[in-house]
Symmetry: C2
Subunit: 458 residues, 2 copies
């Protein structure tokens, strides 16, 4: 019983579908952020659920760790094989198994990415709305309970995955959920596997809820004298029940980075950027109502645009904000925070984070999904200066601590992985032990993505 | 270790808060439908979470079953103490612990009912949107994952409970979720306890997501030549992404019952009833758009109303449909089905159910939440004629079987309890065993609402 035996048996099973090549192993041991590389012992490229089940059966038999791998865009080290084992890469499982247009449902394999799916859907008038920014795989997005800019209207992966096909830790394949829009038939296993980060099983296929492409889309942008004004405007907008599809904040530092990298000349103050989806008249009405609310809160230079090219221009800054920030510090890496707080505490949380960053050695612009109370500080650090990484970790820790004090969460959308394990006990108390109980019940050998999410097992 | 010892110790703990009175025991052993009464050995009326924790600790120590009881309105025997034990009645735990208006969040104790909560919220401009019809307790609604007429817009309890306080099977108290709008921090325990029917622990308090009362509401009603026409109209309406707050179907038999009991004179054909929430102009636009779609599908006598009294008149029939049906057969009881199917199969599912009912001895009008693909047949039976109950069960079984063949679920909103246990294996396959594994991990003694939802344990 060993990893070596597992690799031997998996080579017989998969042939070319098992890679031991060094570059492949290295790629599968990287993180998008500051964690040191931890390559797997082998990378499997299954082509079917049946192959995934056989891989896991062998690994269970050999006590070998199994780590799912989608597009590798997670931010908390979720795909890193901390104790070696087999990385199961879903890039050869991208089929759309079924598209039920009338029911607005698609069944897709775990490896298809968000952009690939939406490209396939384009002609149908439907789309999958969750947009975490990165072109992540749907299996990965489900596993980390991803959300992003559109969650304020369409919800997170929790709200848009209605069923799953999962290979369990003993190789059994189960199906959760149905194609009906709701069900009261027992424990919500779909919801349990969404956000479980591969620690309870490997998601091989997903039943997704699709949406109709809106008849009309309007975008709007508005500058504010302060983050507090912008957030107060958001609170009022939400209470008016305006059906915003996106409402994003960028702080002064983000605008400055964009101006500098893209040669733009936006006023260097916080901005809100919004998108409304609806009918022609409703999106116009919503944009105008928002304009009035913004004016009440000191908003300046309010612009709105309905034509696709004008919308694209308005959103250009937000879409390029993250990259502008990274490009503004060549050679640096980033630690990206993602606390989420009740909206009433958001202005305070952002201001305190800004103050912390200003008082440190760090450069750390802030932007975020303000309609959900979720924001990111992009804490840049020079990998050759350990003190900068330590400062970034300390700033992140203070943000989390404040978020928890405010009744919020350590992570709105990036998940736990290895990067946020330290906060779980404080956020959940004894409920974290219950997560451990569930893990032990479903994966008694602790082979499914060990060392992530739950309390240490062995 | 016994129920008798538990009662002795609970009497010391609770004094008057533990009832052994025969009428009280009998009330807590009843079902709303066809199950024979199974009274508990005692009924506890805790006044705090701490008391609930002490009750469960004693029961765990004595191996005594613990069954949560809210308003007693569940339909599948969820509150019936099948093997005796303690019924824990939450009617003395109705506090609103916290109301965070700006965050649109309320923390309430499990015993408060939907109507009580909304009455308290009236002056705030906020409301809790889930409406299963019955004036159920929020703890009960969460435990059965209730939904109802507004789920098409606002979602089910799964979507509107963001955190829970739960007393576990060993008496520990845990808190799940936060007051932030979303979180990616570990397994979704909130989602696991919502719909668990008290088999994993007792919900003592809930953090609820509230909504802003809409600026404007419009109601509409329209008659259709057939269920198929009405459903086709619904499908088109959903694909247009009209933001309906309710969309309900009633079949000819329901209209006839209403006419007969209420002395009305509605045309005896299927009807759709709708409600739109939004701004003044958007609800008008939606009602008009719906009117056009309805006409395309043979809709007749389309009416819409924005004034509250006119809306009430339009909705009168739907609100009284269930009672009209019950009153039309005095002395009879009902078995109410609640299958939920993909919308594309809804017309077929309803027509087949109607055909089945017509071919039987049964009287069984159909109505439902057509925007979700969820419908009810109210199968009336004379309790003195066992053949009628058998016919009702057989008709229900055929509806479920068809729903599962269509990719749907045995229960859209009533849950499993003891009434739908027989369908779990077919609906979930091996995933049902995983539910059993979770149950054993969290309640190893099987004292929390035994014999419900999961595979038989002992």
């Amino acid at each position: 019983m060993s990893i070596t035996h597992a690799i031997h048996r998996l080579t017989s099973l998969l042939g070319e579908g098992l890679s031991l090549s060094k570059p492949v192993l290295e790629t599968h041991g990287l993180s998008e952020t500051y964690f040191p590389p931890t390559p797997p012992d082998a990378v499997a490229f299954p082509r079917s659920t049946d192959e995934v089940a056989q891989i896991v059966t062998i690994c269970a038999d050999e006590g070998c760790p199994v780590i799912g791998f989608g597009a590798g865009t997670s931010l908390e080290g979720q795909t890193q094989p901390t104790r070696g084992g087999i990385s199961v890469d879903f890039s050869h499982m991208k089929a759309i198994r079924r598209l039920a247009q009338e029911d607005m449902v698609a069944v897709v394999e775990a490896g298809i990415t968000r952009e690939e799916l939406n490209k396939e859907l384009r002609a149908t008038g439907l789309f999958f709305p969750v947009d975490p920014g990165a072109n992540a795989s749907l299996g990965g997005m489900a596993s980390t309970r991803a959300s992003g800019t559109t969650a304020v209207r369409y919800g997170t992966m929790r709200d848009n995955v209605i069923g799953l096909e999962v290979v369990l830790a003993d190789g059994r394949v189960i199906h959760t959920g149905t194609e009906a829009r709701k069900s009261a038939a027992g424990y919500d296993l779909t919801g349990l596997f969404v956000g479980a980060e591969g620690t309870l099983g490997l998601i091989t296929a997903l039943t997704l809820r699709l949406r109709g492409q809106p008849e009309a889309i309007t975008a709007a942008i508005c500058a504010f004298p302060s983050v507090a004004n912008a957030v107060a405007c958001v609170t009022d907008t939400i209470q008016m029940d305006l059906s915003m599809a996106r409402i994003e904040i960028v702080d002064t530092a983000t605008v400055a980075a964009f101006n500098s990298v893209a040669g733009a000349s936006m006023p260097e103050t916080p901005h809100l950027m919004l998108e409304f989806h609806g009918t022609e008249s409703s999106v116009q009405e919503m944009a105008e109502t928002f304009g009035d609310i913004a004016t009440d809160h000191g908003g300046m230079g309010f612009e709105w645009a309905a034509r696709p090219e004008d919308r694209a221009a308005l959103w250009h800054m937000r879409h390029h904000a993250f990259w502008s920030v990274l490009q503004s510090r060549p050679g640096c890496r980033s630690l990206v925070t993602d606390v989420c707080v009740p909206i009433s505490r958001l202005a305070e949380a952002v201001s305190a984070a800004q103050a912390d960053i200003s008082a440190s050695v760090l450069y750390g612009p802030i932007l975020g999904h303000v309609g959900d109370g979720n924001f990111h500080a992009i804490l840049m650090f020079d990998p050759n200066k350990p003190a900068e990484l330590e400062a970034a970790k300390a700033a992140s820790e203070r943000m989390v601590s404040r978020a928890l004090d405010m009744g919020g969460t350590a992570t709105g959308e990036h998940g736990i992985g290895i990067g946020k394990l330290n906060y779980m006990e404080r956020e959940h108390g004894d409920a974290w032990n219950i997560m451990g109980d569930i893990k032990r019940a479903l994966d008694p050998q602790n082979i499914m993505n060990p060392d992530k999410l739950v309390p240490p097992i062995n």
